[in-house]
């Protein structure tokens, strides 16, 4: 009781702010969606028919099974790869560490479709790698399509999430705990399994949730290489927005199911994190060690191969962008033609992309840290609800969210449609979870007694937050913020609904080319996007003076 009063003013204001933001930009738009999921398309009467229909047809419910299966596999694989990479990169000296980290981040930057399409070029039935292997072994080689392809593409795209989260947390682990384990005779994998992993668990779970949600929501990849391996997002998308004209109520019902499903998973994750989290006041971070000989070589090889493989789509895209084209067809030889074609409007798209993403990331970091604080340190039913709500936009297909936003804000009293503001709002709402998750993960690790120390010195909770807590959080937040930012840049599905001529972004421009198979120009745009992003990242690290990305 005392505690609540202690901080009534500021944190209540934050809670109120969160309620307003989510209420206005999330609940209000989504409410009609949820209601329509219970409505009969013809009469508008309340019915459960939309849900019943889903479970009657294998075509539909099979996609749910497929989604869950592939998502689970992707999540597990990403955890393994991401955690291992983070551990080796943090604990041992790795040559060209900076470059490796940049590459890892860049491999997330794969605008919808184009990344997956690169894999078709490489691993499709007449893909370069497939052909090569077929000729080498004189037997039919499996192609990229279907389950295993989706698994590969998504894992390579999503393990960086885990990597960023975990390496942030690893740097916060108190080295003496690891030493304690060693002094008790523990080493290697055992040490990782019994001490490091449990300590990282809250963070890994936070990252895993992100991966899970992302994999579950991704529709670009299965759309392109699913080949009959139907998944929920594609289904929702096509029922909602197909050229053929689907059934909005039914799509809403599927979206509702997804929301319920993911909320359950989120609550489960939260429950475990709450039970399995502990504070560490880490004064001595882990020392970076030099591995020697054989082990060192193996580690480097592993890291480089992994990074190379995850960069393949980017390389392919860049390569493709310089190919000579004739319309939609790639011809032998190189040319800059694709760049010439996209040159019009390019400046606008680039400015828009970066203006929106920076504006959004600023709001995201601020909101993310504040909301993370109230949901971890000022727990009550309201903050619990806010925490859960914040995950919704993550799972609702972007295009659906875009449409609900458009419907909600295209009329008096609040006309936002057609403005940059609505795009930024959708970016903030959709990309907040990354920063929010990483912020609360890091908060779990900061000992409250440090905050108390500051308060005892006369700093109000508000001051303490900005001068102490926030500063200590920053390294951890940064990893989430980078994710938020990169995904803001990549964001397509809601922007494509919300943009107008003056607010087009790079990824919209890329998508526009992709949908009608103009891959040369798409690749050119994509390359420009990658290059400018790398430049922005490098600039950021230069200015912020930090050597590591995940810090």
């Amino acid at each position: 009781m005392n505690k609540k009063l202690l901080t009534w003013n500021f944190w209540t204001a934050v809670t109120a702010l969160a309620v307003v933001v989510f209420g206005l930009f999330l609940i209000y738009p989504l409410l009609s969606l949820f209601i329509s999921s219970f409505q009969d398309p013809a009469t508008g009467a309340l019915t459960m028919e939309n849900f019943a229909k889903f479970f009657r047809k294998k075509y539909y419910y099979q996609s749910l099974i497929n989604s869950m299966w592939v998502t689970t596999c992707v999540t597990i694989l990403s955890i393994i790869i991401g955690t291992a990479l983070a551990y080796f990169m943090t604990a041992y000296k790795v040559k060209f560490k900076g470059a490796v980290e940049i590459f890892v981040i860049i491999s997330m930057l794969s605008p919808p479709f184009i990344g997956a399409y690169s894999w078709v070029l490489l691993g499709g039935r007449s893909g370069i790698i497939t052909q090569f292997l077929t000729e080498l072994f004189h037997r039919e080689w499996p192609s990229i399509y279907g389950f295993s392809g989706i698994l590969l593409v998504l894992t390579l795209k999503l393990y960086p999430f885990i990597y960023l989260y975990v390496s942030g947390a690893l740097k916060k682990i108190d080295a003496s705990l690891i030493e304690a384990a060693e002094s008790l005779g523990c080493s290697g994998m055992k040490k990782v399994a019994t001490v490091i992993m449990p300590l990282l668990l809250p963070t890994i779970l936070a990252g895993a949730l992100m991966v899970f949600m992302n994999a579950l929501a991704d529709f670009g990849t299965p759309m392109l290489i699913g080949e009959g391996f139907n998944v929920m997002p594609v289904m929702i998308y096509s029922e909602f927005i197909s050229e053929v004209g689907g059934q909005a109520n039914f799509a809403a019902a599927m979206a509702t199911m997804m929301v319920i499903l993911t909320s359950t998973i989120f609550l489960l994750q939260k429950y475990i994190v709450n039970r399995k989290s502990f504070t560490m006041s880490s004064l001595r971070p882990m020392q970076v060690k030099q591995l020697s000989g054989f082990k060192n070589a193996i580690m480097h090889l592993g890291i480089y191969v992994l990074v190379f493989v995850s960069m393949i789509p980017q390389f392919t895209v860049m390569y493709t962008s310089f190919l000579k084209t004739n319309g939609q067809l790639f011809l032998p030889g190189f040319s800059l033609n694709s760049y010439v074609i996209v040159f019009d409007n390019l400046a606008l798209a680039i400015t828009n992309t970066y203006t929106y993403s920076f504006a959004a990331i600023f709001i995201i970091v601020l909101l993310g840290m504040l909301i993370a604080y109230i949901t971890t340190r000022r727990k009550n039913w309201l903050t619990d609800i806010i925490d859960t709500l914040s995950m919704f936009p993550y799972i609702i297909p972007g295009s659906v969210l875009g449409i609900t936003l458009l419907l909600a804000f295209n009329d008096e009293p609040l006309i936002l449609s057609g403005t940059a503001l609505i795009i930024i709002v959708s970016l903030v709402i959709r990309r907040l979870p990354y920063t929010l998750r990483s912020s609360s993960a890091i908060l779990y690790q900061i000992s409250p007694s440090v905050e108390e120390a500051s308060i005892s010195l006369g700093a109000s909770p508000l001051k303490t937050f900005f001068k102490i807590t926030a500063v200590m959080m920053l390294p951890g937040v940064l990893s989430g913020a980078i994710l938020s930012w990169i995904t803001c840049i990549n964001e397509l599905s809601s922007s494509v609904i919300l943009y107008t001529g003056g607010t087009r972004t790079m990824s919209v421009a890329i998508y526009t080319e992709v949908i009608r198979a103009s891959y040369g120009t798409a690749a050119a745009l994509s390359t420009i996007l990658t290059v400018t992003t790398v430049a922005a990242l490098l600039l950021f690290f230069k200015v912020s003076g930090s050597k590591d990305i995940s810090l």
């Binding site: 440090v450 108390e452 120390a453 500051s454 308060i455 006369g458 200590m472």
Partner: protein, 372 residues
């Protein structure tokens, strides 16, 4: 501008478990008040309640006349040294110490001066630009100390602030604390497990046990006239003998089980034949012709004195004592004994304490007060 602290019937519960059932204490303005008690008895908990970091489940705490139960911690103008230091890991030593001063809006020159001074006092001026991760444990602790003292708070709360320092440094830090405390008159509540420290530094000491205050008093009375057996054995060593009261027409005696008896004039109300516990401190024995017979079972050298463990006939003693000890001052020892030697020890009758043999085990000496 220090304040008096009035703690009235406070209660602390963690979920189901009651840690402090009902505790009252009044700490005077400018006083150096020490909480002493076994590990886990609730010292930190009480301190955090005064600081405002633990909720108060019942009762009230006042600073002078001001009820502070609901005043947020940062408005209480306290300084606190945490048991786990809680230094800001992202700030250098100097920045850590400056932190509180900056918040108070002092001008740069004043801050610099104050910080320089205090860094010198706690002897860490050489490390002022380091980050805490590169300090030794004791150095970290001194940063925490400096940070709390430098702001000259009304109330200074310290949770084992010297536990990682060597004796010399402890003594120096102690006088530094006392000095600052006297200069600006800070009411200080100090938690320590070190009795010598508590005795040396405190105006008054509260001895706690399982969330309950056993005795409050100045160091001397706590040590020489403990209110009950718990205090007697917790502060310093006490050898407990079983005995009986013998009251004849004129005099009152306390009789050991081997028949050795001592006349006591300053006992409170006792009845003839009443069972009692006789408490004798190791240094209150002297080797004499008459007294209690015992054998030396081991010997430890402790610098200023030698500590012997003694073996008595079992019926002489109260059960379950870890050891019975005699501490021989080396300044005066005529002879140092060997293991196995039989000696006769006479308790100093002016100093021994007599406790009731019941569960309360209260001191029977006249004039012993629980709260002073």
């Amino acid at each position: 501008m220090s304040v008096a602290i009035h703690i009235d019937h406070v209660v602390k519960r963690y979920e189901q478990v009651t840690i402090i059932p009902d505790l009252s204490a009044h700490i005077k303005n400018g006083e150096f008040f020490t909480l002493l008690g076994p590990s886990g008895c609730g010292k930190t908990t009480l301190l955090r309640m005064i600081a405002g970091f633990n909720s108060i489940e019942g009762g009230q705490i006042k600073f002078d006349e001001r009820l502070i139960n609901d005043i947020p911690a940062h408005k209480r103008n306290i300084g606190m040294v945490f048991q786990n230091y809680a230094i800001f890991p992202h700030l250098t030593v100097r920045e850590n110490v400056e932190y509180g001063l900056k918040l108070r809006g002092l001008d740069k020159a004043a801050i610099k001066k104050k910080v320089d001074d205090i860094l010198k006092v706690v002897k860490i001026e050489d490390y002022q630009d380091r980050l805490p991760e590169r300090l030794s444990g004791g150095q970290q602790q001194r940063v925490a100390l400096a940070r709390a003292i430098v702001i000259h708070p009304n109330v200074l709360l310290m949770d084992e602030p010297l536990s990682n320092l060597d004796a010399k440094l402890r003594i120096e830090m102690r006088s530094a604390i006392r000095e600052v405390q006297n200069q600006v008159g800070i009411t200080t509540v100090y938690v320590t497990h070190d009795q010598e420290e508590a005795l040396a530094i405190s105006d008054r000491i509260a001895v706690m046990h399982a969330g309950v205050i056993q005795q409050i008093g100045n160091p001397q009375s706590i040590y020489t006239r403990p209110y009950n057996v718990f205090v007697s054995t917790f502060i310093g060593h006490s050898n407990l003998f079983a005995g009986k009261i013998k009251v004849d027409a004129l005099k009152t005696f306390v009789v050991f089980n081997d028949g050795y008896q001592i006349e006591l004039e300053h006992l409170g109300e006792v009845t003839d034949g009443q069972e009692v516990i006789i408490s004798v401190r190791p240094e209150e024995f002297s080797v004499q012709e008459d007294g209690l017979q015992c054998t030396i079972s081991s010997r430890v050298f402790l610098g200023k004195y030698v500590n012997y463990k003694l073996a008595f006939a079992p019926n002489m003693l109260v059960a379950n004592q870890v050891s019975i000890e005699f501490s021989q001052d080396l300044g005066h020892a005529e002879r140092i004994f060997e293991q196995g030697d039989m000696i006769t020890l006479r308790p100093n009758k002016a100093k021994i304490n007599i406790f009731t043999a019941d569960a309360e085990a209260k001191n029977l000496i006249k004039g012993v007060k629980q709260y002073e």
